[in-house]
Amino acid sequence: MKASDYRARVEKELGAEAGEVREAGRLRAAAITGEPLTLDQRRDLVRDSIGQRGDLPTAIPALLAILADSTQPEQLRTAALDSLKAAAFVVTAFAPHRAEFLATLHKVLSEAGAELRGRALETLAIEKDKDAQALLVRGLQDPAKALVPPAAALQYLGYDDHGGYENVVRDVVAKSDDDEVRYEGLRLLASDPKSSSLFERLFADKNEKSEIRRLGAAALQMLAPDKFEKAARKILADDKDYDEIRATALGALTHVREFARARADPKLVAKVDELRAKTRGFLRDAAARFVQRSG
């Protein structure tokens, strides 16, 4: 059966009458899950169910029923979750179902498989759900209890920059040798003034990975512009440092709020002229942009 045929049939059966939304949703969910369709067909129906705004009053209850039903295939439930997240953008249509949606996500956390559980956890974390955040922290502190990998947990905690997990995250970053975990942790700390010394150290450390150093530069510039400027000048003056990092430093110096101060510094200007004349690629381009802005 084609999705369009199915849609026509359900619409005919339901008559799209107002006031019987929940019953309509139940029927639609039953049709999606009970018909002798293949999993792919059923998943297509789920994905297609919110295509039209007018479908939402019946589609949302149907999707919630599928998401809540632990006997349904995980892929179908995951597709239902994706469709519900899309439906949530239509605030007025979704509002009557929001509380049930959140309650269903909590239920999913306790019984679903890893993929769906992780998706539910992320969705709740986006909502700044305190219980979801507690589960993420628990997983970071005790990997045996983790519902998602540590990099994902850090990313999800980062949805709430008032969560107050900086101490936990700093600890994870210090102990981990996984670059992805460190990167996600550092991203979360990038708005934490107490981490400015950490970013200053990372930015200056030639043994660090370049993406970590660049993240350190961006965070330091945001948290402590004066410290950043000092560190950037030092890196720029060091011909043994990597061109990519020196270009990052120079690019940022070109766009500081106090550019007049940078432009008036003869040592810095002389160094930039030298880099423009003697280097190639992005470092020379960065030097050219500095000179261009200097007028």
Binding site: L102, Q133, H162, G164, S191, D192, P193
Partner: protein
């Protein structure tokens, strides 16, 4: 070592309905209370929700009422709002503003309803509506608002049923409604001496550095507290927008150039000058020598102690704060306070005008 959150919640639950428990619970509500130290904002909100819910077990002490009304007016956490609504049911006597504030919170929750973890199976909006149903002062305004809410068809089945029950209760009561009385819930603003903070070092949005007394002495000022990372649009963002409106009010009264308008950040390590300038400009605030945003160059503690600021801190930033604006006299001492509840620009402008008219300032 601070107690675990679970221990705090146990302690709060243990106070519910106990003799002296309500006063002990009310004492935990100020943002600067030690129970909130080091908590993230989510945990701080959770704690407050439990405190309000525990207060609902008995009569609401007068000291807790401003916190309940504040939560209903500008709270962003559905559970804390719902628990505040529950606590309001125990208010002794009628609270005139309660109806409008419950309706405001119901309107917020109508598009952001959540399960209410303290009453399994119910939602935050249901609790707010249930309070409205028993509120002695609720009447025609609620009937109209709930009617409109139901007509929009944007409520869940459970919330719809609750709204219908509330509407029926209100209609049944309309003919026997008692005359409305007024309870003004605002913190008293005790004048404080300015001298102890005269030397506190500040930096403004342009990077200029000065002492507290350099700016706040000589002319009366309106001083608000805020921080740019505030997540509640009804608090800091609105405060700064209202400061811009206050500037316009002062201009209308011909007071530009005679009074100052300033805001100081709760979060000085993060709110660097450029950030202060952008935040104000984006909300229409016009900066000049008399109109500045400031941050302390050292800790914010001296100002926190002096103004008894309602602010608590987590590991990285503010975890909770109230709305606070002070009108300072020409010596920098507090002449009037507008705290916890949304303030009115006209009232603040009038308070500044009154300072300018007083002999001490005009001489």
């Amino acid at each position: 070592m601070r107690p675990a959150i679970s221990q705090l919640l146990e302690r709060i639950a243990g106070l519910a309905g106990q003799e002296g428990g309500a006063d002990a619970l009310a004492a935990l509500l100020p943002e600067q209370a030690a129970v909130y130290d080091g908590l993230g904002s989510g945990e701080a909100e959770r704690l407050r929700a439990h405190i309000f819910a525990a207060l609902a077990a008995g009569a609401l002490p007068a000291a807790a009422l401003p916190f309940v009304l504040e939560e209903l007016e500008t709270g962003a956490d559905p559970a804390a709002t719902a628990a505040a609504a529950m606590a309001l049911r125990g208010a002794p006597g009628a609270v005139a503003e309660a109806e409008a504030l419950l309706l405001k919170s119901a309107a917020r929750l109508a598009v952001a309803d959540s399960p209410f973890p303290l009453a399994p199976g119910r939602t935050a909006l249901q609790e707010v509506l249930a309070t409205l149903a028993v509120l002695p002062t609720a009447g025609a305004e609620s009937v109209a608002a709930l009617g409109a809410m139901l007509a929009q068809g944007a409520l869940s089945a459970a919330a719809r049923a609750e709204a219908e029950r509330t509407l029926a209760a209100l209609r049944a009561r309309r003919s026997e409604k008692p005359p409305c009385c007024s309870t003004k819930a605002s913190d008293p603003g005790a004048p404080l001496p300015a001298l102890e903070i005269a030397g506190v070092r500040l930096e403004d949005q342009s990077g200029a550095r000065l002492a507290f007394a350099d700016f706040f002495a000589g002319e009366p000022s309106a001083l608000a507290f805020f921080y740019t990372r505030c997540m509640n649009p009804e608090r800091c963002s609105l405060t700064v927008t209202k400061l811009a409106r206050l500037q316009a009010r002062l201009a209308d009264r011909g007071l530009t150039g005679r009074a100052r308008v300033a805001a100081i950040s709760y979060d000085p390590d993060y709110d660097l000058p450029g950030r202060l300038a952008d935040y104000g400009a984006q909300r229409g605030f016009r900066f000049d020598a008399r109109n500045r945003f400031l941050r302390t160059l050292g800790p914010v503690e001296p100002l926190k102690a002096h103004f008894e600021l309602g602010v608590g801190y987590g590991p990285a930033t503010v975890n909770r704060h109230r709305i606070e604006l002070f009108v300072l006299d020409g010596a920098g001492a507090v002449a009037a306070s507008f705290t916890r509840r949304l303030w009115d620009e006209a009232e603040v402008a009038a308070a500044l005008a009154s300072q300018l008219a007083s002999p001490a300032t005009s001489s």
